[in-house]
Symmetry: D2
Subunit: 340 residues, 4 copies
């Protein structure tokens, strides 16, 4: 069965999903590209012989659409995921599920009420070879019990001038919140957030320190104006060794008294393979395979939202905040489990 | 149009092609897996819901087969490519086209007589990100005019005990011969080949030095028993700088007084992306796109065969051999062109 | 003039200083090695044809001793530095000057009262090529204004079983406190300290976050049981780029499916060149050159002690502590100045 | 005993030796700096409170000179070494001993006739940490029996416009010839030499392939106009693994979409530690220690000269040349011995 996919949102990320579906996903076809901006929808749809549309709920309801990828603005993620649940269609929703943990709970309740898992959340790093190797080393016991995880999230520059420290936590950091939960297999219980001062009016980095219920420490730097390029790094420190992401560059150059490696321009280059594998897993799920083991769920979206809310409070208050999650519903059992 | 592909040969490489076609090639479907060993054909075909067969020529002739991937033993590559030409079907033939340059010429003549290009040769490195970046840097003039290219081809160990130095040249080195021609955009005119002595009965490395018609020097080490892993490296030395392949490892580990990166187990890991991109290009070609710009042709297979023949003579005689190619037929104009 | 040096303390560090003086310091000679344990003093002195002694104050007073290197137990650093001041002899005192900031102030007062600078403190990292390159890049404006500094201090294992988190702050972290002050050219104003939990009874790492008076953020990990080796790293993040210490290894090895670099066994290997340059600077100073520009002073020892005291309080209380230094005495003007 | 050293030659290398003796060599003092150009001699001598002179033989004869470092033009190395032998003074002579193997034999005969070893040849790489680690790994059996050694010798640019390919072999390559003999512990028996063509009139690289009496293969690239910086690299390929020099840079920088390491400006930076250790060994020898185990002898100078002569013939004739050494005189037994 060829899965007919609708991509909702034709911005940077939606365009990339459309390309992946059209060119790199066996077993799938790009049926519709939907965007409130009709010209944008047409531009992307036209590239791949797909239909263009502007009304997302109507697209979700179409009988010739088997599954949905939501890559529209953040505030629409939850409503559109709910629409997919109502339509009984599986959805791969870009993160965040919602910036409001309350809204995430509504989505979880609706999904649970439907009786089947329908939402896969776009925390694509779980499919990245680097994080997979880290997780495998951890599980194999190669570095012993995990003690700390250090994370760096650096972008060349912020998309817009009015980007704030709170937005660094709610928009960029959720990838870090998810991967630390996934990697350590347990939940954070407290968070602090601090910012240095820049000399200009760009948003300054945010440095967070989290403690987990198992007594691990996690540091997170989100630096949205790192200037030099897109650079995401992590180091997992165990009791007997460490494993870290390595800078991947296919070539190196000797020229002008330096030896240099290139940096990725943005996340699409850095995570190209992760996006492809994630979307392949989504298609296999829609085709009837079990819910992908690596995939993030609505529960993971809820957890990331709660941590982000606490992080913003920590930044604004200047003091450590406790992180309190509702008990994980049985419906989501198995998701993000402990390292045995 | 979905391209129905027959994979001929169900050994290591054939199995990998079957997997790529079945799982990673949008627009293609794995129709038949053919191997003289029926059990082997069934094993691979069964994995992907394809048909199994044992008679390659019959498979090539089937009306429900649109295109062919040849990954059977080396000696069958030319006859099966000729069968594809007769059947009017495009073929992606694993290297070498033939170890006999004379047989390569027969294939070229048949292809030219057919009036259209039908053969793509599996020199997949042209699709590897590292070599693509090297070529791009060269074309952009970043390192100036190319002066030298150094190449290393290292395998963990030889597949069989009776592997010889001549086989290192005819079986392993053709990838090097092709990439140096492709990278430098001109033909080699002489070759020397020497071997050190091992203390055991495994085949020793072969070190070759080639000169090109444009006065460049190329060194090639083929070390089939490097023991430590699969490791292919290259450095292109220009008049103003150099560009080299960089060791790609997604993670690094600190443990036991060392910091380490992993080596690939074999070429399938190292060139996974190159194989995928090469086969995507093949499918697009079958679907009606133009002959892929990067792809190697029968002409490239002929050139590699001539160089290998001269390399074997150089090794056996202990003296430098001239390399003489027939003039490139107009039919293959455009293939492996000069850097402008 | 050949500077006759007495090394006080014949433990690991004293033995290393004795070796440097005897074998690697032109213009200096090793006159006396002093240790309360006479056998130990004799063992080291004998290696280099120096005299052995057991009474440090008598050694300091000797007329055939021109200058002193103090490498005895921490609690003796301040008293012996005071003895050197009284004897009018310059002293290169291993860090810490004292773990008590009050005692550091007494030393400063005595030194100021003497009218001349006599103490050089063994924060040898200031002489390390890596930190010197970082500082040079900062001063040259290559990475813009500094925003953050990340520091890692990892030892293979703790010397003794009763090493505590507080000791990680008072014994290991002062090197970090000094280098951050030196690098950023300003003082920290607050500190937090947290520890993850280990599964065994070894001391767990301590993670500290400091803010400077200029609004920079500094993270410090002290991991005394890192297991894999001695590893000190730092990254300085500026507004337009970053500069970090690079892993220095003269060779790399390909073997057993990995490519590996070696880790240093301990700080003597890692900082061999820094110690040599530091001690050379000390000798030049004793010979009449001006007080070495890079060298740490008693003031720097005081500052490190205050920060460590606040760090311990932060760790024990679980809350952020303000760091308050006395105003820098004019006597120490020029030491650890601002980046212009 | 303080060794009073005369440095003969006040060019780039002589100035560097004068600095090392004056500032970095305990147990030695810089007595005289001698150069035919009096102003140059005065300039260097003045820096370190040494005497200036212009007549080398007179300097060698002085009673207040205990030992000599020869760093004058190549053609004077042998005559001045002979003068040192006559004066009964030990000499550390910069390479080459002579570009004429015949003249090297005269020096060997004179040294043997004197009854004691008096010449240490400035093949300083033997004291470099990278080559020492390579040799140690080899001796320890870590990579198995050596099969091949690859060597690269790259300079930013040639000192003068009339530098030729033959000079690349006689002036630059001797360091490679010595280190391969030292590393492999046996002698080369044949050599080929080839050059690519440059598009300008600068000297092109020379690529040499040598075979040793034990059946090993060695490649050497000498690229005197590599443009990007000074870069000397080597890889030793054993039967079970490889060990290679690693690019040493104390820091790395992320800026402008690249991550970069610095290249050394020239050999003085790259080999600073090797020169210092070599000269320390020389002083210890003069002080009465045994002839330094690592040091190169006149015999090694002779061997390098023969190989260079054969290399030039190979380049000029375009054909492989046999390398024939006289039997090693018993006087030089022990020098450059076999790996046990």
């Amino acid at each position: 069965m060829t899965v007919r996919i609708a991509v909702i949102g034709a911005g940077i990320m939606g365009a990339d999903h459309a390309r992946i579906v059209a060119e790199d996903l066996p077993g799938a076809t790009l049926q519709v590209v939907c965007d409130m901006d009709e010209a944008r929808a047409r531009a992307i749809a036209g590239r791949y012989d797909a239909e263009a549309a502007t009304a997302p709920e109507a697209v979700i309801a179409r009988t010739d659409v088997d599954a949905v990828i939501v890559a529209s603005p953040d505030s629409t993620h939850a409503p559109l995921s709910l629409a997919c649940i109502r339509a009984g269609k599986k959805v791969m929703c870009e993160k965040p599920l919602s910036q409001s943990s309350g809204e995430c709970r509504e989505v979880m309740q609706a999904e649970a009420a439907s009786g089947t898992r329908q939402i896969m959340l776009g925390f694509m790093r779980r499919y990245d070879p680097a994080y997979r190797q880290m997780r495998a080393a951890l599980t194999a016991g190669t570095i012993g019990r995990p003690l700390m995880m250090h994370n760096w999230h650096r972008n060349g520059s912020t998309p817009s001038a009015d980007f704030t420290g709170a937005m660094a936590i709610t928009n960029s950091a959720p990838h870090e919140f998810d991967i630390l939960r996934y990697m350590l297999g347990c939940e954070p219980v407290s968070i602090t957030a601090t910012q240095p001062m820049r000399s200009d009016d760009k948003v300054a980095p945010v440095v967070m320190v989290l403690q987990t219920v198992d007594g691990q420490l996690v540091t997170v730097e989100v630096n949205n104006n790192a200037a030099y390029g897109y650079d995401v790094k992590a180091e997992l420190v165990g009791e007997t060794g460490t494993i870290a992401t390595n800078h991947v560059s296919y070539t190196r150059m000797d020229k002008g008294a330096t030896q240099s490696l290139g940096h990725d321009a943005d996340w699409r280059d850095r995570y190209a393979e992760a996006y492809r594998q994630q979307n392949k897993a989504f298609v296999r799920w829609v085709q009837g395979g079990g819910c992908p083991e690596l995939a993030a769920s609505a529960w993971d979206g809820y957890a990331a939202a709660v941590i982000a809310e606490c992080g913003v409070k920590a930044l604004e208050s200047g003091s450590r905040q406790d992180i309190t999650l509702i008990p994980r519903p049985a419906f989501y059992a198995g998701a993000t489990g402990k390292v045995a």
